[in-house]
Amino acid sequence: MELLNHLAVGASVALTWNGLFYCFIGVTLGMFVGVLPGVGPLPAIAMLLPVTFYLDPIQAMIMLSGVYYGGQYGGKTASILLNLPGTAPAAVTCLDGYPMAKQGRADIALFVTTISSFVGSLLGIILVGGFAPLLAKFALSFGAAEYFSLVVLALIGASAMGGSSFARSLSMVFFGLLLGIVGEDVTSGRERFTFGIPQIADRLDLVAVAMGLFGVAEVISTARKSRVHAAEGFSYKVRLPSREDMRRTWKPTLRGAGMGAICGILPGAGATMASFLAYAVERWVSKTPEKFGTGMIEGVTAPEAADNAAAQSSFIPTLTLGIPGSAVMAVMLGALMIHGITPTPRLITDNAELFWGLVVSFLLGNAILLVFNIPMIGIWVRLLQIPYTILYPIILAFICIGVYSINSSVFDIYLVLLFGLMGYGMRLLHLPPAPLILGFILSPMLEQNFRRAMLLSRGSFEVFVERPISAAFLAASALIVLAVLAATVRRALRNRKSIRKPVEV
């Protein structure tokens, strides 16, 4: 009964004309950037941030989150048809999706993955509605020490799962932490690392950092690669999957959805890891693992379900604890903070309209995406023919105007330029930008809780291990670090053995 009341509150916000409109815009844009390889949800969300300044926070969040989960639906389209992932988590869908397309079963693959995505999303949303309030209640007891340790866990987790080398990811987390303290120190009022530039006395602008690192850097590195690739051999008619296909779909979907939903909540894991994990598990439980990679329907449905479930459930730590698990969620958190909302465990009760409005809009958005992806998929497939050479000048213009519009300051345009060049340089050196954004957003929180906890403990570092919850978070962080180190050492030893027989060229 209580849940129904909550949902009614949410519906009163999300099912208004405005709510419907922004949800529709969000998922449409998400689908668009998801379908197109090379344009991901993160730059799209960063590009939309300036626009959301002019909306109320609920509409802004409905639209931005729509871009994110809409992108997860769209991402598989190019994976299946072109063997090019539209989004990072959809990379694994290429493995069996593209072979299916080559067998003339692209429409079946798109159909079943849409169903899987939808089921995965539903499970994720149920978890958001059911588990987030419980987690929030639990987190009410968190003090400064617990928050500090939780942020540490989130940052370490994100570095370990990011895909790049641990040292590189972690160094970018710390670089992000450093960039995050540029500006006035809240406690002492002292300006730090501002070099006397008044425009950055009040923090570096998140929009400029994110757009530069993800938007401009992406344009620089891909502008030369013309992307004209019509999807071949795809009949724009939709066939229904056979009963056999459906029979082979539902179990992987449920397994994938379950794993994805859990991955989404864990700090640092996120949608990409969820989809890779789901694929690995399907191959493991399968009676014919050798057939994976040749167009197994299990190999596309499980990752897609996992990816969408994780996309939805990753809202849980962001909205209840204010601790994002991924770069996209970090930008989402930034959007909330722009509107003066700092997510705490009290958000769900104090700002019930926002939380439940979002939950209802997730349901609505997924229903819209179901329509986009089954009856209307032909229209989206045609989008794949848009060349990147047309898109990137539009993206650049949008970035420039958007970042200027925040403060009406040309300085911010140059700041985007600077971060764009930096982001490009980081790509060259294999330094990942996503952990940087995470560190950048979480830095003030980390510092303030660190200071507060140390003040309360009169300067004793033991406070972080004396309190059990904080100790558990730190222990988990230490375990992750140890696991990474062990893997590195093992690889090094294996390599050492292998040098005994040099190879001639």
């Binding site: 710390f174 690392f193 344009v219 502008a223 050479t389 213009a397």
Partner: protein, 176 residues
């Protein structure tokens, strides 16, 4: 005869690690020199950045030299067996630079030109300037595309930002 499996210390590792170390040194030195450290119980503004700087120095050194310790590796190691997403260090940094050279120059120029023109000449000239410069970053040039974009971008910008969001952009203004 050449032995492939003695991998030199990677140049990207050295540059990346070196830069991270330099940033760390800068942060640590500046915190120590310019901001009060305070004590562990009452931290001053310099305490936290000093810690960050210290960690960055260590991480930078790790990135630069870690491979030297797990050295001789190379082609004997089965690349397929490596975890997904392992850095593809083999990609030659110079060839990437050569491939993207035009866009490294032109994209920043386009943005800078936009910044220069926006408050002096107005939104439409700024958009046109950005478009004209940035289209040359593509691998091949097409007049049709240039004209399409010159027409389309200001219209899109006008519709979204001026009509849609009601921002007070001046479309064209006198320069002189």
């Amino acid at each position: 005869m050449k032995l492939v499996n003695f991998r030199r210390i990677e140049i990207t590792d050295l540059i990346a690690g070196g830069l991270v170390t330099v940033v760390g040194l800068f942060a640590a030195i500046r915190s120590l020199a310019s901001y009060p450290l305070g004590s562990a119980s009452r931290m001053g503004p310099g305490y936290y950045p000093m810690l960050i700087g210290g960690v960055l120095i260590v991480l930078g050194l790790c990135i630069a030299f870690a491979r030297a310790f797990q050295q001789p590796t190379g082609e004997v190691v089965d690349r397929e067996a490596m975890p997904l997403g392992e850095d593809d260090e083999e990609e030659d940094i110079r060839s990437v630079l050569r491939d993207t050279a035009p866009s490294i120059v032109l994209v920043p120029c386009a943005i800078a030109l936009f910044g220069f023109l926006l408050e002096r000449a107005g939104l439409i000239p700024a958009c046109v300037g950005l478009t004209v410069v940035s289209v040359f970053a593509a691998s091949h040039f097409s007049w049709v595309r240039l004209v399409e974009l010159i027409v389309a971008i200001p219209i899109i910008a006008y519709l979204i930002f001026v009509v849609g969001l009601g921002l007070p952009f001046e479309l064209v203004k006198g320069w002189f």
